[in-house]
Symmetry: C2
Subunit: 206 residues, 2 copies
DNA sequence: CCGCATCCGTTTCGATACTG
DNA sequence: CAGTATCGAAACGGATGCGG
């Protein structure tokens, strides 16, 4: 049963929290940033959230126009949740929270989703502006992502890349380790040119 | 009794929410943006929050280095809460939320705090860059604020201005009305040059 | 009066079990 | 796979109490 308590405060900050202030809501939005996800994908990405909570939040977010429940084309025939245009307007909120949270200690035995690891990569890597556009694939626990470094930025989206100069397969924590110590790339599961990842990860300070 | 639940998620977004994700936490931070506040001031600004909630949140925020509990100098001798440097790092989070929340409908019978009204003014007024620095005072329900328009921006802080070219006294909702219809300034309680407010409010579209 | 603490009914959360 | 159903535990919301 979705919650419906509100702050009763006219401030835009409080009104935003009326929509995404309940527990787990913003983490569900986070998981949808790089593309649509099924209910079971969300459960896997948010192992600490109970199933009814995720279902309730999705209903609320749907009712508030933040996410959309959509049926996949025939062969798949399952349902996915994806961000609406309004939902994507939460991106700056997530980035601001991420900047604040970077010096909050990591809890013991913390889980790390594939999306979270790639958000970290996206946020901290600074490819040089003069580098050519480069497309590579990163697969984290069977979830394929396309990573494109382009004009000083990184774009990430779910799905296999069409043509990639390199592909890396690892886990979310494995990716974090490779980022903090790119020399381990020599032991990693890389197809194609490992130098692409070497150069990209080397732009990350710390 | 302060809450102790955490997401157990290594993502910086989730870690931020471990600190400020509980109900009312970010609204307390909002109320401290323009200067220190006493416990009773916070209760007045957040009438929907129960007393134990505010006390619990302040303890949590204190324990997490977001706010500081400080004794005022002798004549006053009371306690105030103020943002730490870390707490001020939440400003971008609040602005991002405010931007998202601006198209969420205002709840019925919503309350509006003095801070919220001035955040709206600060966020939407666009004084022209060539205008001279102007200091005015705005008093909202006995709470004095100093508003300084300066190089295309507005700075707000709690307290009486030292020397102001104009002073306005009204309520938070009264200020919102004056912003939406500056012609009503002729009926407002203004001392000094009303043109200052006229020009400032006229820069707000809508 | 201020600054909380305590009490208590209600809501929400978290964990697990269950169903179409 | 995609959710419901259930239930104990925790958090919230409102009222009241109480020492300084």
């Amino acid at each position: 049963m979705p919650t419906q308590r509100i702050y009763g405060d006219a401030c835009t900050i409080a009104r935003a929290l009326d929509v995404v202030g309940e527990r787990w809501a913003l983490l569900i939005v986070r998981e949808l940033l790089f593309g649509p996800q099924r209910y079971s994908d969300l459960r896997h990405a948010l192992p600490g959230a109970s199933s009814n909570l995720i279902a309730d939040r999705l209903r609320e977010l749907d009712a508030n126009g933040v996410v959309l429940r959509r049926r996949l084309p025939p062969p798949a025939a399952s349902w996915v949740y994806e961000l609406t245009a309004r939902g994507r307007r939460l991106e700056p909120v997530l980035y601001a929270l991420g900047a604040f949270g970077s010096d909050v200690p990591v809890p013991r035995d913390a889980y790390l989703s594939a999306t979270s690891a790639l958000l970290y990569l996206r946020q901290s890597a600074r490819p040089e502006h003069r580098w050519p556009v480069t497309v590579c694939g990163i697969q984290l626990e069977d979830q394929p992502f396309t990573v494109r470094s382009k004009q000083g930025r990184i774009e990430v989206r779910r799905g296999e890349p069409e043509q990639a100069v390199a592909r890396l397969q690892t886990t979310p924590w494995g990716l974090m380790e490779l980022i903090s110590d790119p020399s381990r790339l020599s032991d990693a599961d890389v197809a194609g040119d490992p130098g692409v990842f070497q150069r990209l990860f080397a732009t990350i300070a710390g």
